[in-house]
Amino acid sequence: MRTGSEELRPAKRGVPGFVLMELLIALVLLAVFMIIITQVFVLATRAHRDSIRRTAQVSRVDSAVRRLREDVWGAPAATVDAQGELHVTRAEGEVVWRVGPAPAPVLRGAEYRLERTINGARADQASWNGLPAATFSVSGQVVTLTFHTGAAGLGGDESVSAISPVMLQASPGGAP
């Protein structure tokens, strides 16, 4: 059994221990390790935040495309004017879709908003913020919305199309 005086006795010469140089090297290695860990943590946090924003952006795109498809589905006519606005003729009036700058963009490459009005007035669920730049085009009975996702570093353009059975049946060679 050891007494208290034995425990407090300093280490004997020749017993291996840490010298100053070893401690300094250990501290430097620890500092480098901490810097790397911090960088990785910051990157992971940023990636997680971006991922959440991108997921929300995808939901907004889904919602807008769904509404666009519903608008175009029953349209007897659809045109794109010189300002790039899409005019869809519906039984309840003229639906206009336009792309404009978003009020407070939070994500790179998502600085635009889609707006939808009926007869000049904003309807329910009328705008979708934080979207990439987009353009409308009409070819026959098909309305195409093209998102220019290059600025967001997500590759090239992405297009979604909406078809109108009413225009399809009214077109020459269309269904009766």
Partner: protein
């Protein structure tokens, strides 16, 4: 002995913290993966339903031209496995209009479109179409 016990306690705490971190990461990844899979599945289902309802629009026009606007329900054959498509023909609110409701079932969810046909001379012209797909 005391030193060993303290060391085991620290190791146990570290192991628990690491397991909690890994568990949280796996749970977050699972939720994200499940949400993405659900979105992909619904996109595939609604795309197929739109195709079925577009075909139903053409068939409804053919049916009105061939057999008139008497109220009836018609099951339609589809080439898509696991899908059903029906047409319900009913007179419209206004005179000379007929409402055709097309319902399709695919992938466990239903899609509906309401077609308004207007009589124009001897033929029926599609004047309005309303699409309702699952969210």
């Amino acid at each position: 002995m005391k030193c060993h016990a303290r060391s085991r306690g620290t190791a146990l705490m570290m192991a628990l913290v690491m397991m909690a971190l890994v568990g949280a990461a796996v749970a977050a990844l699972t939720v994200a993966f499940a949400a993405d899979a659900h979105r992909t599945r619904m996109a595939r289902i609604t795309a197929q339903q739109r195709q079925l309802l577009l075909a139903a629009t053409v068939m409804a026009g053919d049916e009105l031209q061939a057999h008139g606007a008497a109220p009836r329900n018609l099951p339609l054959a589809t080439p898509v496995a696991g899908s059903t498509l029906t047409l319900s023909i009913a007179p419209g609110q206004e005179g000379a209009t007929t409402i055709v409701t097309a319902r399709c079932m695919y992938g466990g969810s239903a899609g509906t479109e309401t077609l308004t046909y207007r009589q124009n001379g001897g033929s029926w012209r599609l004047s309005d179409a309303r699409l309702r797909l699952p969210p």
